[in-house]
């Protein structure tokens, strides 16, 4: 335990106090608070649009920045949920239920305080869990060969079908579309040109995931948000004084229990690829309500109803990094983009990361501890500022984001062709989103596509074409069975519902 966890953790903590890294934590938390608080922008939009900028700094500093942004966005979402009554990000939907009534009753400061403290506890609990789960999991995963890797990826896609809650056919289309886009360019094993439509020379290079990610989250979502925020927003006034802050701090005990439960729940839900922060916060809200002595007060301004989802969404954001770091399977769309970034930085994601890039991994873990403190402090100190920023009209922000998207894509791939593709993906993404096609699976799929194909073909080459290799190895078999179970879960659920409905 000492050698495997505490010593590298200490080194990681020291590393996160290096001036550049510490600056990155501050900058990331600030950017995260901003994107989280702006309705229509979430961590995933921030990470997608800012990833090209991080090529300025070494990979460790870059991932620290993006991880801090991820964190900050979870805190920031609560600010607009409470003061505007609109969730700043989908992860903060549950915070509106009780945060809004509290703000209307003049207790916005108490709600904001509870959100900040709960987020801090959620983040810290889950980063501790992360620290102790990650090394053994990575060590276990070292035994994985290509068949297990492939099985894990199938499992990751199966969670979207089983737990995503969207139309199953549409989810499958989204996954497969991402995988198909990833196959354009050339065959990774033989190097043969592949899917070069109309013999366009531009299609002889693979389409980078960032083109799809920025297209969907930078262009498509902006169009979608524009459609939905046509009405003017009303910012609630917040009284924020040191004296009331101290009073509010004394009342932390009221929501301690729901916060702790939410934190642990959030971490584990966050590790599932399809679940992530939004369902985690909703589940945590539901749990807090059903275990409360006074469930009727929920929805009318119960402070536990603010604390529970906020603890869970922060915990989930850390949780979703666990499979990304240890297995190379992202736990959320945001971590999918982080994973893609790691590939661009020249790191090879997967269980070997812990062994080969220890400094990178532990620097990230160390920074998560520090980022929690930094976000708590920044959040409390800057609440008055953020409330003013929220009044920033979307018509000002949107064109700046569009411009950044174009430059970001061009700077990453150096081709105008990709800028055109980005616009195409953005518009198609918008049209699909309006028809309830989930798009996060597509982003995950384009990142995992080449990795999945490689492990699939390596397995078949090593077994000389015998597909039984996927079923002979116990871990792979378990993954496939789980995947099958997950994929049939919606059908079983529907069957059971029908059974129950018949006698009633």
């Amino acid at each position: 335990m000492m050698e495997t966890v505490l010593i590298p953790l200490g080194a990681g903590l020291l590393q996160s106090f290096e001036p550049l890294n510490l600056f990155m934590i501050f900058a990331g938390c600030l950017a995260g608070l901003f994107v989280g608080a702006m309705p229509g922008l979430g961590s995933v939009n921030g990470v997608a649009v800012l990833l090209p900028v991080t090529f300025l700094v070494p990979p460790t500093a870059a991932i620290i920045f993006l991880a801090a942004l991820y964190y900050g966005a979870m805190y920031g979402g609560a600010v607009s949920s409470i003061t505007l009554g609109i969730p700043g990000a989908s992860t903060a939907v549950a915070t509106v239920f009780d945060g809004r009534p509290m703000a209307q009753a003049g207790k916005a400061d108490k709600a904001l305080m509870a959100a900040a403290v709960a987020s801090f506890i959620g983040g810290t609990v889950s980063v501790v869990l992360f620290t102790f789960f990650a090394p053994p999991l990575a060590e276990f995963a070292l035994r994985f060969g290509p068949p297990e890797e492939f099985a894990l990826m199938v499992l990751a896609f199966a969670t979207f079908i089983g737990l995503g809650g969207d139309d199953i056919a549409k989810t499958a289309i989204s996954i497969l579309l991402g995988l198909v886009i990833a196959t354009v360019g050339f065959d990774i094993i033989s190097g043969q040109p592949r899917l070069v439509f109309f013999d366009m020379p531009e299609l002889q290079r693979p389409i980078q995931f960032i083109v799809l990610a920025i297209g969907i989250y930078g262009i498509g979502e902006m169009l979608w948000t524009m459609e939905h925020t046509k009405g003017a927003v009303q910012v609630t006034k917040v009284n924020f004084t040191i004296r009331r802050m101290r009073e509010n701090l004394g009342e932390v005990g009221q929501y301690m229990k729901s916060t702790t439960v939410g934190s642990v729940l959030g971490f584990f839900v966050g590790t599932l690829p399809a679940a992530g922060a939004t369902p985690a916060s909703l589940m945590s809200y539901g749990l807090a309500k059903s275990f409360s002595r006074d469930p009727d007060s929920f929805g009318k301004g119960n402070v536990s109803g603010v604390a529970a989802p906020e603890a869970a969404n922060n915990a989930a954001s850390t949780g979703s990094m666990l499979p990304m770091i240890t297995l190379g399977i992202p736990g959320s769309p945001t971590t999918a983009i982080l994973l893609g970034g790691m590939i661009i930085w020249g790191l090879r994601p997967g269980p070997l990361l812990f062994a080969e890039e220890g400094e990178f991994v532990w620097g990230l873990i160390g920074s998560m501890y520090v980022a929690n403190f930094v976000t708590l402090i920044l959040n409390l100190a800057l609440i008055p500022v953020f409330i003013r920023v929220l009044a920033l009209p979307f018509t000002m922000l949107a064109p700046i984001i569009f411009v950044l998207c174009i430059v970001g894509v061009f700077a990453t791939t150096n081709r105008m062709f990709d800028v055109w593709l980005m616009l195409l993906f953005g518009v198609i993404g918008y049209l699909m989103r309006k028809l309830d096609y989930p798009l996060a699976p597509a982003v995950l799929a384009i990142v995992l596509g080449p990795l999945a194909e490689r492990s699939f073909r390596q397995s078949l080459i090593s077994s000389q074409g015998d597909a039984m290799i996927f079923l002979d190895r116990p871990i792979a078999l378990i993954c496939f069975l789980l995947a099958l179970l997950l994929m049939s879960y919606p059908f079983i659920q529907r069957y059971l519902m029908r059974q129950r409905a018949v006698p009633g």
Binding site: L56, D167, I173, L176, S190, F197, I406, F410, R457
Partner: protein, 236 residues
């Protein structure tokens, strides 16, 4: 167009797309290569086949009206939205076309100007601050710090920016680069300060800041020149 029709068209389009990808990958080997494993076309072919299957399911569900969208007869994109979203989408299209002609900087400035002024109806101060600040920040961040050469359009416009680049290289690689960039940074900060101060006094902050950013180096230059002259006279 109603949402129902859009749902059907999207599913149909996806079926077509899958078929196209299947046809295209079947130009490669979609079978087993003896001693080498699956052929190059296997992976995309079967993915597209699965996607085609899923799209067919979506199409069938549309015909049987099993999804909420396939029963929704309201407008796919309602009238209010069409204005905003279409203008934005076509604005983006025009923006990317104009990048090929006048380069990123001029097209960004035109896009931001039109968007902020016509759609956002922001004040001239807000508009012009954004229009001037965004390209400068992009230049510093991407061309200076990240050393990416962003597209500059036709030769005429490209040469304009090559002149800017030459000045920058002179500064960046001269012996006094640290001093000069420090002074430039100070000048910018000073201009921001002047702008904020002017806003308090009720003067147009943008004009004040622009004036400061131009006048300060001139005054500074004249001052340094005079000081040098005096010192030369004293020495003589």
């Amino acid at each position: 167009m109603s949402t129902r029709i859009a749902e059907g068209l999207m599913a149909f389009f996806l079926v077509l797309l899958s078929a196209t990808v299947m046809w295209k990958s079947s130009e490669l080997n979609i079978g087993w290569v003896e001693g080498r494993g699956p052929g190059s076309g296997v992976w995309p072919f079967w993915l597209a086949a699965l996607m085609g299957l899923a799209s067919l399911v979506a199409l069938v569900r549309f015909f049987l009206q099993m999804t909420p969208e396939s029963r929704n007869l309201t407008d796919y994109i309602d009238r209010d939205t069409v204005a905003l979203v279409m203008i934005t989408a076509f604005g983006l299209l025009a923006l990317i076309i104009s990048i090929h002609v006048v380069g990123v900087y001029f097209s960004f400035m035109i896009f931001l100007l039109l968007y902020l002024k016509l759609i956002g109806q922001h004040s001239w101060t807000e508009t012009m601050t954004t229009v001037l600040a965004v390209p400068v920040i992009i230049y510093l961040l991407f061309e200076v710090a990240l050393t990416t050469y962003l597209p500059k359009g036709w030769p005429f416009f490209e040469e304009l920016f090559l002149a800017v680049d030459n000045v920058r290289y002179d500064i960046q690689y001269s012996a006094n680069s640290g001093l000069i960039s420090g002074l430039l940074a100070l000048n910018t900060l000073g201009a921001i300060g002047v702008g904020l101060w002017a806003r308090r006094l009720g003067i147009n902050p943008l004009l004040a800041a622009l004036g400061s950013i131009v006048v300060t180096p001139i005054l500074g230059g004249v001052g340094v020149f005079l000081m040098g002259k005096k010192r030369a006279e004293k020495a003589a």
